[in-house]
């Protein structure tokens, strides 16, 4: 017999109900087999543990038992009737029979009723071969349906008349279809939306025979409801009622490739379901340790960009960026690039060229690109986009704790009693983590949000207490220091922890600093506009929670005092003892899939892989031996320095892999000038991005589905990326870098990315134990992974800080130079939306645009009224750096005096407005504060017009010669 269902590996088995975490063991007998399980386990799950599959429809193991389908009934000795095995907990000595004549009869009766109101179109149904209803009909031995066709939900027409119970398919969501005719009202989708995703967008309307799944309220469709298209309901549906459009179009998959999502820093594990080289669907892995079987709209559905028509598949070159592109062979493109780089170095010196590594490519690819700069170019001119996002995290946490990374794994959120979220918008930027946090908030954990905007997390349904500190952009340090002031003044600090883990005298000095009246909530209220009372309540709540955790994002780092804010956060955690145990910690939410990895891999101009300084002779010796070339001990140029040097004429060549600096970096006009003055700009990307408008060589990249490698997520977890299809451009990205290096005489000889990882492990102590064998075996590991921690380190700083004693750094608030005044009275801050990602190069090329087709400027009703602006109007946003035009959305999500936008669309280019201010320690740009004026407008700004004309001109491709 043929079976289209992919044979389940162990982890795909549905155990029916969630795991119980009790440490009390209970032994019972199921079908004559003794089985021991934790107390609180359901009989259904215990049976599954014993290898017995009890038929079921409404139960699945990622949500609480519901007991509605009545298919899982069993007989239990001494118990009356036939209890549902999903809702019956095990008891010591219980004797269970999962199949008796009576049970068989009941199940067949139940199944007969289900099938009497279900279309029998299995052969043409999209779920054919992957349908639990079909499987259960088989399992219970259903052979006939005795009921005459009567009132039903599935026949469009009855006796020539329209069936009033029939409802049309809801195809409003671009990625999945809801067909009510196939619904068995098991509520799995509703419960998945509530328990797994936490959006509560679905409900059952009506009752009895009228019960139906409804998205939102009566007049809503899936698209207009609160649905965020995470796909949890589609995954939960046992029939074809909710099913991916790609499955409807293609059919069932034939193999699974386990890989890692290439969007945000959560690093969700995914199963790529393939048919040939076509992706049928991406389904979050149940055994994924970061996402635990959940996903968001980007990873689950927005992968169509990988085969988008605009993807460039052939290398191209041109002499000058105003020429049209010429499509050439790989040899010619690589030769052209290598020759120009060498010529530039000969003419302008060894240090006149550099690289920018990508936070989206794999660790192995990033390692090779920085190695290219150090070993082949012979300088340390390597930097990465972490410069513009989380470099202050690296600096701040290294200074205070000793490691440039978050302290905890995502699982830790399940044990936190209070989450302090600063400058992050997890439900949009890091949605899967957002859902996990929301679940904990529903279980009773407290929430404090420090953010200029009212973020969605505050609207979590059924959450516990929450405080929102709506501070003015740029005053993070003041508010956090005031919280520390309250903790110090009221003696809420954890003296035992500080004495044991930090330097007590140093803390006393810090306490003295804190107690100065300039750090009091009243003093800070004036600068931050946060009521003193709220600061006090937040401080007491944070210090009072048994396990309090801090999660933060770019709203912390992308400021002139980004590094200071990170250290203020670390101080709060140390002084309250919230470090080293589950449920606590300081956790940066990383923006891109591999921004942690790109930092780990030595992308910075002053650090080798593993954060070791280039001036450290021992480390340099390791690499000189491994690479067989002498290395420079002089730190290279950071991205902003590269641009400055380019404008000054001393920096002339750049290899930029998988990053769109023109769109993502601040002060676009300045970046434009810098890029235009380069002699050789090599862009290595999937698409002709904005940066490539100034490029001389375009090397087409490969998507994450087309290569092997690893990504490291925000919790230091090294996840495998596996090749699901051959690269459409012909080469994996690491191979392209190898070709370029070898064309410049490097003589690199890598056959597979695993060899690159072996080199990384050999030369980097925190990666010493990492190998592809280990990753294949364990699924993933969190660094440090070495002799001391052979399986990695989920929670860091358990018994002591990596640097020894935790360090308290005094965090003086210094107001940014960027402040509002008469000319620019509003403060602009920027962020992300759920459905778009970063510069949008990927998500704009998917159906995600139905949710966010353009960037909007959020403005408070009072500011809007003063300026005569209504929602939907075009407005001009001007700063001292530049101006752009976009549409307004009037909302009280932002406070008066603050405006907000996203930066996903190049025709808006929010970064034309942002300035060149940056973090004092790391040069991370101050994206989050720009003084602006907003005024009504009726068209694109002059800059937008010019840029559009230039982009059109520079994207011309000459037809290939006949």
């Amino acid at each position: 017999m043929k079976d289209f269902v992919i044979p389940p590996a162990d982890w795909t088995r549905d155990m029916g109900t969630p795991e119980s975490r009790s440490d009390i063991a209970v032994t019972l007998t199921i079908d004559g087999m003794a089985v021991t399980v934790p107390a609180g386990t359901s009989v259904m799950r215990a049976a599954a543990e014993a290898g017995v599959t009890v038929p079921k429809l409404c139960a699945t193991d990622n949500m609480a038992a519901f007991g509605s389908c009545r298919l899982c009934v069993v007989a239990i000795d001494g118990m009356r009737g036939t209890p549902a095995s999903c809702t019956t907990p095990v008891a010591e000595g219980m004797v269970v029979h999962t199949q008796t004549d009576e049970i068989a009869r009941i199940r067949r009766g139940v199944m007969e009723l289900y099938i009497s109101d279900h279309p029998l179109d299995c052969l043409t149904c999209a779920a054919n071969g992957d349908c639990e209803l079909q499987d259960m009909a088989g399992a219970v031995g259903l052979r006939e349906v005795r009921f005459e066709p009567g009132k039903n939900h599935f026949q469009r027409r009855e006796n020539g008349e329209t069936n009033p119970e029939w409802r049309a398919k809801d195809q409003s969501n671009p990625y999945f279809t809801f067909d009510p005719a196939k619904c068995i009202v098991c509520s799995r989708c509703v419960r998945a939306c509530e328990e797994v995703q936490g959006t509560f967008a679905l409900t059952i309307e009506g009752r009895g025979f009228d019960s139906r799944v409804s998205a939102g309220i009566a007049s809503d469709s899936f698209l207009s409801s609160d649905c965020v298209s995470c796909g949890a309901c589609v995954q939960a549906c046992p029939t074809a009622t909710l099913i991916e459009n790609s499955v409807i179009e293609i059919g069932t998959p034939e193999r699974i490739v386990k890989t890692t999502c290439a969007y945000c820093g959560v690093g969700c594990s995914f199963d790529a379901h393939m048919r040939g080289e076509t992706v049928v669907k991406m389904v979050p892995s149940k055994d994924g340790k970061a996402n635990r079987g959940h996903s968001c709209v980007k990873g689950r559905f927005a992968w169509g960009y990988a085969t988008h028509a605009e993807r460039i598949l052939h290398p191209m070159v041109r002499d000058h960026f105003t020429d049209p592109w010429r499509v050439v062979s790989w040899d010619e493109a690589i030769g052209f690039a290598a020759r120009r780089l060498r010529e530039t170095q000969e003419k302008h010196g060894r240090d006149s060229v550099g690289v920018i590594t990508s936070s989206r490519c794999t660790n192995e690819e990033t390692y090779l690109v920085q190695k290219l700069a150090r070993a082949v170019f012979g300088n340390n001119n390597t930097d990465t986009c972490a410069r513009v996002c989380h470099s202050p995290t690296g600096y701040g946490l290294k200074t205070t704790f000793g490691t440039s990374a978050g302290t905890h794994d995502f699982d830790s959120v399940e044990e936190t009693d209070l989450a302090l979220v600063i400058g992050a918008n997890p439900t949009e930027g890091h949605p899967v983590f957002g859902s996990r946090l929301r679940r904990r908030l529903r279980e009773g954990a407290g929430l404090i949000v420090i953010d200029p905007r009212h973020i969605d997390l505050l609207d979590t349904a059924h959450r516990n207490d929450a405080l929102h500190l709506p501070l003015l952009p740029g005053t993070n340090v003041a508010v956090l220091t005031a919280m520390a002031h309250v903790i110090a003044a009221e003696g809420l600090y954890d003296e035992a922890f500080i004495r044991k883990r930090c330097d007590w005298d140093e803390f006393l000095a810090y306490r003295e600093f804190l107690l100065d009246p300039r750090h009091s909530p009243e003093a800070v209220e004036r600068a931050s506009q946060v009521p003193a009372d709220l600061i006090r309540r937040a401080a007491r709540a944070y210090a009072g929670a048994p396990r309090a955790s801090i999660y933060y994002g770019l709203g912390v780092t992308e400021h002139s005092q980004g590094s200071t804010t990170v250290m203020a956060i670390a101080n709060l955690a140390m002084m309250t003892g919230n470090i080293g145990k589950p449920g606590t910690g300081v956790n940066p939410l990383r923006g891109q899939n591999n921004v942690q990895g790109s930092c780990d891999m030595g992308s910075f101009p002053h650090e080798y892989p593993g954060y070791r300084h280039v001036t450290d002779p021992e480390t340099r010796a390791i690499y000189e031996r491994a690479w067989g070339v002498p290395l420079s001990d002089e730190p290279g140029l950071r991205i902003p320095n590269m641009f400055d040097a380019a404008t000054a004429g001393t920096f002339r060549g750049l290899y930029c892999q998988g990053e769109d600096v023109l769109q993502s970096d601040p002060d676009t006009s300045h970046v434009q000038k810098a890029l235009a003055s380069l002699d050789i700009l090599i862009v290595h990307d999937l698409f002709l991005n904005e940066t490539s408008n100034y490029a001389h060589v375009f090397l087409p990249g490969s998507s994450f589905l087309e290569k092997d490698g690893t990504f490291t997520n925000a919790e230091r977890r090294i996840n495998m990326v596996r090749r699901a299809m051959a690269p459409l451009n012909g080469h994996e990205d690491w191979q392209i870098t190898v070709m370029l290096a070898n064309a410049m005489g490097a003589g690199w000889d890598y056959g597979h990315p695993s060899q690159i990882m072996d080199e990384i492990a050999m030369t980097t102590p925190s990666f010493a134990g990492v190998s592809y064998d280990l990753l294949d075996r364990e699924g993933s590991v969190q660094w440090p992974c070495n002799e001391k921690a052979p399986l990695g380190t989920p929670v860091m700083h358990i018994d002591g800080f990596v640097r020894g004693k935790g360090k308290f750094v005094h965090t003086e608030y210094v107001a940014t130079d960027e402040r509002s005044g008469p000319r620019f009275p509003l403060l602009l801050t920027t962020g992300r939306t759920l459905t778009q990602y970063n510069v949008g190069a990927q998500t704009r090329r998917t159906d995600n645009t139905v949710w966010h087709a353009e960037d909007l400027l959020e403005i408070h009703p009072s500011d809007a009224e003063n300026r005569g602006i209504a929602s939907g109007d075009y407005v001009r946003v001007a700063s001292r750096a530049g101006d752009t035009t976009l549409r307004a959305r009037v909302t009280d999500r932002v406070a008066p005096g603050v405006v907000y936008t996203t930066f996903h669309h190049p025709n808006t280019q929010a970064n034309v407005v942002t300035t060149d201010n940056s973090d004092w320690a790391t040069n991370c740009p101050e994206f989050k504060v720009t003084a602006v004026q907003v005024s009504p407008s009726n068209g694109p700004s002059e800059w937008q017009e010019q840029y559009r004309a230039h982009a059109e001109l520079s994207r011309r491709i000459m037809p290939a010669a006949e």
Binding site: T203, I217, A218, S219, A461, R463, A466
Partner: protein, 171 residues
């Protein structure tokens, strides 16, 4: 449970446009009356129906936001109870019991005769907005079926004449 962070006002751009300012004030007054109460959704819905004669769809997200619930959850509850109305009823509501005990005492025949006499089907309202006819499933009067209810008044051993007379007498 604190439902709004810091402020009681709804921060979202909810589809309040369907409710005018006056209706919004009346709704907020109801919500304020039930603030802090445990399990307040059903009492709020009853008050809303008493105030508006129906549960306005646009009110559902606002009620949800005030209670820390999603609009869908509120809709699930509203749609579960047949007494919560999508459209306003007439000034008077006549209910005829259709449950098993009354059926065994001739409720179906009663219903057919009443419907014919009044010219109304189930859930219909007279054109002058005076009377609405609703089915009901058990009024708790099983011992003296068939049962009916005219406004607040219960009728046991109902006959078509009596019911039609009662319905006709209501102005």
């Amino acid at each position: 449970m604190t439902l709004a962070a810091n402020t009681p006002t709804a921060p979202n751009s909810l589809p309040v446009s369907a409710l005018d300012a006056d209706a919004l004030d009346r709704l907020n007054a109801i919500l304020a009356r039930h603030a802090g109460r445990e399990g307040p959704l059903l009492p709020i819905l009853h008050d809303v129906q008493a105030e508006f004669g129906l549960i306005p769809e646009a009110a559902q997200p606002i009620i949800g936001n005030a209670l820390g619930m999603s609009p869908a959850e509120v809709y699930g509850v509203v749609s579960f109870y047949h007494d919560f109305r999508e459209h306003p009823a007439g000034r008077h509501v006549l209910r005829l019991c259709r449950a098993e005990a009354c059926q065994s005492m001739g409720a179906d025949a009663l219903a057919a005769q009443v419907q014919a006499a009044l010219g109304l089907g189930w859930h219909q309202t007279t054109t002058d907005g005076r009377l609405t006819l609703e089915p009901v499933f058990c009024l708790g009067l099983c011992a003296c079926g068939p049962a009916a209810q005219m406004g607040d008044r219960l009728v046991g051993r109902a006959t078509p004449e009596r019911v039609v007379a009662l319905a006709g007498g209501a102005r």
